[in-house]
Symmetry: C2
Subunit: 549 residues, 2 copies
């Protein structure tokens, strides 16, 4: 029966001949009934800024009235514009009559359509030297600056609040060098992550990070926000894989440290401070990064499970049995799955026949296909035998791999289709990973705000189980102050109570700056402020964000 359905399916307790289990060669050759989606579908991974920006977003300054414009900053004058024009290549400035000019709007508004600044000037330098000149001038003239990469941030860190100048890395987009022996890649900060992945793909390497926004986000922004993403489980964080940085400080000083060495113990590792500093210390203009060899063999499986308990057991088994080849272990709940089914551009059918309370996508990457298949099959077979998973499919080719991944990667976009989405990004110990979703769901239900005719349409949980990193999304018809109050600071208090972090990978930006105290002690925040002052004594870099005022 299974063979006739041309897929790998396992149902616990069903009358399934043993041969049809995962790992049986007879079944593995069978085809796979995922719809073969056209490539355009995967544009949803990247281009998610388009329709969100059709809406008019209220000004951040009107919503968050506790933030006041710093009177130490000067307003931009024609003289400033004239001077900046004189030091930059032609076409590097975008100046608007109003912040709502079509050319300026994409730089003033974040992807989530939640934050909108009043910037009137966008500067797009083409070289590190130009960045240096711009910053030195802005520092001298006390003009505030917001560094912006691909503008795919989720915490309002990359757009102005008032009239800050947007310094975009759009035109800093060259690969400087790649060494296939060491795997070190040196490139401009404005290179798009996916372009780098493609560049490396042709050379037998991959980037050590991957994330949904890869088609738009810049490597400089990734580093500045210490982006995590889908490969962290395997290749570790950017604190480990970034080999060197070139950074321009507010006074125009260029810290040139584009080392390609794997080891260098000569002095404080200054680059580490910039990784995750969200543009508050200086502007990253160049990145040197260690890139892994492209794996010869990649397998992706999707399984359905009854409870988060079962997800945990499956993860522990994966760590034990897939160990060095495990490269992703992503989980989402039934609500997330339903949203994806109903909201994505093309209908994306659940490749598992039944609906399950939880789904796990797991990926292996290794050097020997046969060995990896054997490890994966015996692992999955064991999970079935032990009743840990209820159903599952394994992708049979590269297209099916993309299709399975798209089920996971479409979740953020599907969430955003509801109208508004409250996004939280918490890391915590694995045993309480999903409890936050249950607790928030219960809290909102009790408050009577959840339902088809209510403000909140759903409460969704998904994320990187392997990193203890949950994304809690609350979908709503629109952003609403009452709903916000029900969720915040509740989720931050919750994270603190369970020794979690209020921001696993999204950063602090504007959204979480006031809440840093839930994750960091007063002495820690005090030291951060002192470090900020060392690098940026006039406070021109990305003001109002990151650290509490």
């Amino acid at each position: 029966m299974l063979a006739a359905r041309s897929r790998l399916a396992l149902r616990l307790g069903a009358v399934v001949p043993r041969v049809s289990r995962f790992g049986s060669a007879a079944v593995r050759v069978g085809k796979f009934n995922l719809p073969s989606l056209p490539v355009t579908t995967f544009v949803t991974r990247h281009g998610y800024a388009t329709d969100a920006q059709d809406k008019v977003v209220p000004y951040t300054a009107d919503k968050l009235t506790y933030i006041k414009r710093d009177p130490n900053f000067n307003q931009i004058t024609d003289e400033h514009v004239t001077y900046l024009k004189s030091i930059l290549s032609p076409g590097s400035l975008i100046v608007g009559e109003s912040d709502s000019d079509n050319d300026l709007l994409p730089y003033n508004t974040d992807w989530m359509n939640k934050y909108r600044g009043k910037g009137r000037l966008v500067v797009r330098p083409r070289t590190t030297e130009e960045v240096s000149k711009v910053l030195a001038y802005c520092n001298e003239q006390r003009l505030a600056v917001v560094p912006q990469g691909g503008n795919t941030g989720l915490v309002g860190g990359g757009v102005p609040v008032f009239d800050e100048i947007v310094l975009s890395t759009n035109l800093l987009n060259k690969v400087r060098k790649f060494d296939p022996v060491s795997g070190s890649l040196v490139c401009d900060a404005g290179c798009i992550l996916e372009s780098l992945e493609n560049y490396l793909g042709d050379r037998g390497h991959i980037m050590p990070l991957d994330l949904g926004a890869k088609g738009s986000c810049h490597i400089g922004g990734n580093v500045a926000t210490n982006a995590g993403g889908l490969r962290l489980l395997r290749y570790g964080s950017l604190h480990g894989s970034v080999l060197g940085l070139e950074v321009v400080l507010p006074d125009g000083t260029v810290l040139e440290n584009l080392s390609t060495l794997r080891k260098d113990n000569t002095g404080y590792d200054l680059k580490q401070l910039f990784i995750g500093s969200e543009g508050t210390l200086g502007i990253i203009t160049g990145v040197s990064i260690l890139t892994p060899k492209k794996p010869n063999a990649v397998n992706v499986a999707l399984v359905g499970l009854k409870s988060f308990e079962h997800v945990q057991q499956a993860f522990l088994g994966a760590r034990e049995n897939l160990s060095e080849i495990l490269s992703a272990f992503e989980c989402w709940d039934k609500s997330a799955s339903r949203l994806v089914q109903s909201h994505t551009l093309q209908s994306m059918k659940n490749p598992l026949e039944e609906e399950h309370p939880f789904y796990v996508l797991l990926e292996t990457s290794g050097s020997n296909k046969e060995h990896d298949d054997e490890k994966l099959n015996s692992y999955l077979e064991k999970l079935m035998e032990d009743g840990i998973i209820d159903d599952g499919v394994i992708a049979q080719d590269a297209t099916q791999i993309l299709n399975l991944w798209s089920l996971r990667e479409s979740i953020p976009e599907a969430c955003s289709k509801s109208g508004a989405v409250y996004k939280y990004d918490i890391s915590m110990p694995l045993p309480v990973f999903y409890k936050m979703v249950e607790d928030v769901r219960a809290r909102l239900s009790e408050a009577g705000v959840v339902g088809e005719d209510k403000m909140v349409t759903d409460v969704i949980g998904y994320g990187h189980v392997g990193d203890g990193n949950l994304h809690l999304n609350v979908t709503a018809k629109k952003y609403d102050a009452e709903v916000t109050k029900l969720i915040e600071p509740y989720v931050y208090e919750w994270a603190a109570k369970y020794n979690g972090s209020i921001s696993a990978e999204h950063g602090l930006g504007l959204m979480k700056a006031p809440y840093i105290g839930y994750s960091k002690s007063k002495p820690m925040v005090e030291m951060m402020k002192r470090i900020k002052t060392v690098f940026d004594p006039n406070g021109i870099m990305n003001p109002y964000k990151f650290l509490p005022q």
Copy 2:
């Protein structure tokens, strides 16, 4: 014939039946003729401070006369001692009549017998609170402090120069907690690396770092010096695996950030500054670190090669074919091998029949023994076929694994037996990895200082090929100013010329502080000094070291 010799041996061009190649089951079951060394031999990995300290070492202050005692620091008085005694548990102070007192000498002298300070007081706190009280008092009284872990450093960073107080982490030695689900270990800074390895071994995990000094070095010292070692190739640097730190600042402030989370993007990652800061910013009292699962299968092979060209080819092949299971790729030259043969406690025979210009020890660690064996055998067989390696053995059991490793790990001790050893620790691009040894050898030979009846007895190269990290050791009858002048700054200039680092993993300490400019630009060093001032405005922490005066 090979089977009769009970070992795996492959000689290119010899009439060897194909079945006897690596990978043949018939050969692999054969025994292995390495002498089965008693476990005590491996004490050489750890206890290497003993006989070196029998010698009288000149005072650092008498040798490096350009370093002057900072007059801002007070001398220690009886009143200071009385106060410190009053705030600490009994038995926490060691006070000497003279710095040469037997109790003080081990704290005043480094392992290499190269540096000797004039400290009269050693403080050994038992709790973080005690460390805080001590530092706050020293800061207020302007008493300089040298943090000291296991005192296994190689650049004179852990011993006093003048009369600095030694703050030893010897008595901060408790494991605080271990979570087998996440693999996070939280412990005191004074825990000995090997004790932690043993603790974890019983719980199915390993430390993400391993180094020759593991029997003496403290995890706090490892973090403070950003120790690299033998597992970096696989598990990355401490910048990636340290999850959190507890640090006491000079003013007594405790920065408590012992997070066990894999991801936490809330503010500047301050812990990164302390990783590799060599005790100049504060004292690490607690460490939270991510520990990998203990691999189910470990293989170790030793191969002989004709040239460093062949070593490079073997490494590239290993990255391609062993990929995710490769956990070490160590290389040493004929000179290193000869020293080990002649100088180690028990005779350690070369398990390869002939002498080879180069040796590589490679290790695989994985979850499936059968798969790993197959990968390793087919890789080695290919290397033989291609004439890249000339001979090789694979360890057949845990004892043989230790024996092969001891050939590599005995090199530093064997070098030190000559009398004096000039140690350099350079990282550089792989193609020039061994060229430095050749160049230094030629330079010293031309100067006529090498030979049995000369000052320099040998020039030796070994190191971590996988990390581009060479250890150049020049063995000599004693330390000699003329020889030093021939080597320094020559090696640092050499490293700078080839875009290398003058300190890959040993740090700067006293030895390399003046040379940081070869690896870091002036603006970088300037920013480091400003950061130092933020944390330690009175400069009491480990003075005269790390940054140039």
